[in-house]
Symmetry: C2
Subunit: 262 residues, 2 copies
DNA sequence: GACATTTTTTGACACAACGTCATATTATCT
DNA sequence: AGATAATATGACGTTGTGTCAAAAAATGTC
C-alpha cells in the first residue's frame, strides 16, 4: 500500500522532510498542470491520463496524490480560494471606511471571476452531492476551511462598521444578531449570482439588457444604502470609488484582465 | 440516414401527424425518464445506456432523439424553464401592487429551486463553453427563448410599476433607460446566487450564519426599498406578504415542498 | 394480399477514460 | 552490499460513448 508522507510530525531527519517537500512539490505540479488543462480544454479535456502524460509520470502516480478527477478539481478550488483570500486581505487593510472595504470585496470577487472564469464555473459543480461523494471528507474540509476564512473577513468588516457607527446596529425587520449575516449574505449572493450569470454566456444584450457586471456594482451599493451604511451612495461617486480601489488594491489584476481581453 | 419528422408543415395526411405525435411522445418519455434518473442518481447516474434500457428501446433509438447526454440535459432544462415560466405568469397576474408581483417572482424562483435542486444545479453546468459545444445551436436557441420569456415578464412588471408611479423613473447614478434592467438584474442575481448558495451544501450555520434563503426575502425587499419602490418595506409586514403569496399563488408548490421535506 | 420502398430500431464495434493492483523499480537504512 | 521500505508503473477489467451497417417494421403501390 502507498501512503502519503505524514504531513504533521517527522521533520526529524532532513531526509524525510526533503521527501515531503518533493511530494508536495509534485502535488502542486499536478495541480498546475490540471488547472492549465482545465483552462485550455474545459472539464472534458481534463483527464487523469492527460495530466499524467503531461507531468511525465504514469497514471498510477497521479492516483497516489488524488483519488479521482473530482479531487483534483477540489484541489484547484482550494488554490482558487487561497488567491481570492489574499485579494480579500488586501481589501481588509485598505485605509478607508469600512464601507469602502466591503465594497472592495465585491470588486475583488468580480475581478477574480473574470480572470478565472473556467475555475469559477467548475467550483460550482463541486457542490453537487454526487460529485461530493467522490471527494474524501478531509479534502472537503480543507475547502470548507477556506470558505470559512473568507466569510470571516466579510463578517469582520461589517462588525467593525457597526462598532464604528458607520452602520446602525438595529434594522427594521431584522433581529439585531442577524444583521451582519444578512448583509454579508446579501452581498455574497448578489456577487455570486452576478458573476455566474455573467459567465453563463446568456446574451443579455439580445434580451434587451446590459451586462450583469455593469449593474452589480450599482446594486451592491444600493443594498448597502438600504441598510443605511454611511456614507450613502448619493454622497460620493461610486464609479470614482471603483477606479480608486482598482488602482490602489488590484492594479495587477486589472492589468492582467486587460491583457487577457486583448 | 434517419431524420426527425418535419415539425412544421406536413400535417396533410393524418398518418404523418400520428407519427409525429408518437415521436414527440417518446421525446417526452425520454426526458421524463432522464429527469427521474437525474434526480435519483445525479448527473453521473444519468447515462444513455440507462435511459435506453429504462424506456425499453436500444441506445441507438435514444441517439435518434438526442445526440448526446448534454442535449438531454438541455432538454430537461427547457422543460424546467417552462414550468418556471408558468409560475411566473401566475405572479404576473396577481391582483396586487407591482411590488408584490415582482417579489412573487423571487419567491417562485426560490420555491422552484427547492423543489428541483438537482435540475437547478445542473442547468448551471449547461452554461460552460465546452458543454455548450455539444449541443446543437437549434436546441440552444430553444433554451434561450425561454430565458427571454422569463426576463420579459420581470421587465414588464418593473415598467408597469414605473408607469403607475410605484417606482420613480429616475434614480441617482442610474441612466433612466437602464433602471428596469438594473433592478431586474439585481433581483435576478440575488435570487440566483442565494439559491445556488443554498444548494451548495455549505454549512452556513457552522460558519456562524443563517441559511441563505432565510435572508434572501429580506434582502430582496431591502433592494426594492433602495430604489424607493412603494410601498417601502417598513410600511407593511414582509413576512405576512410571503405567507399571503404562498397561499394565493403557490399553495401547490408549498404543499409539495412540505411533502418532500418530510 | 404480395412486393417494393422507406423509416426506424438494433446491437456489434472501436474508442476513451476510469480506478485497481500485482509487479518492477528506485531510494533508504544498516 | 544486501535487506527493506517506499514509490512508480502499466496491464486489466469495467463502464460509457458515439457510429453505422444490417435487421425489422411500417408504409405505399398494384
Amino acid at each position: 500500500m502507498q501512503t502519503e508522507p505524514a504531513t504533521t510530525a517527522d521533520i526529524s531527519t532532513d531526509r524525510h522532510s526533503r521527501k515531503q517537500r518533493e511530494w508536495q512539490q509534485r502535488e502542486q505540479l499536478i495541480l498546475d498542470t490540471a488547472q492549465q488543462l482545465l483552462q485550455q480544454h474545459g472539464l472534458q479535456g481534463l483527464t487523469m491520463e492527460r495530466v499524467a502524460s503531461e507531468i511525465e509520470y504514469s497514471r498510477g502516480t497521479v492516483y497516489n496524490h488524488f483519488a479521482s478527477k473530482e479531487e483534483i478539481v477540489n484541489g484547484i478550488g482550494i488554490r482558487c480560494m487561497q488567491t481570492l483570500t489574499e485579494m480579500f486581505r488586501r481589501a481588509q487593510h485598505y485605509p478607508g471606511g469600512q464601507r469602502d472595504r466591503l465594497a472592495a470585496l465585491s470588486l475583488a470577487h468580480s475581478l477574480y471571476a473574470q480572470l478565472h472564469p473556467v475555475e469559477m464555473q467548475n467550483m460550482q459543480l463541486l457542490k453537487s452531492p454526487d460529485i461530493r461523494n467522490k471527494i474524501s471528507p478531509q479534502k472537503q474540509q480543507a475547502l470548507l476551511q477556506m470558505e470559512q476564512e473568507i466569510t470571516g473577513i466579510a463578517l469582520d468588516i461589517v462588525r467593525t462598521a457597526i462598532a464604528e457607527g458607520e452602520l446602525p446596529p438595529s434594522q427594521p425587520a431584522v433581529p439585531e444578531s442577524m444583521v451582519p449575516d444578512t448583509i454579508v449574505m446579501g452581498l455574497w449572493s448578489m456577487g455570486y449570482g452576478s458573476n455566474l450569470l455573467h459567465l453563463s454566456g446568456i446574451p443579455f444584450t439580445e434580451l434587451g439588457m446590459q451586462q450583469p457586471l455593469d449593474m452589480m456594482w450599482l446594486n451592491t451599493h444600493k443594498l448597502l444604502d438600504s441598510y443605511q451604511w454611511q456614507p450613502l451612495s448619493d454622497q460620493f461617486d461610486i464609479q470614482k470609488l471603483k477606479q480608486t480601489l482598482c488602482t490602489a488594491l488590484y492594479a495587477d489584476e486589472v492589468q492582467q484582465l486587460k491583457q487577457k481581453q486583448k
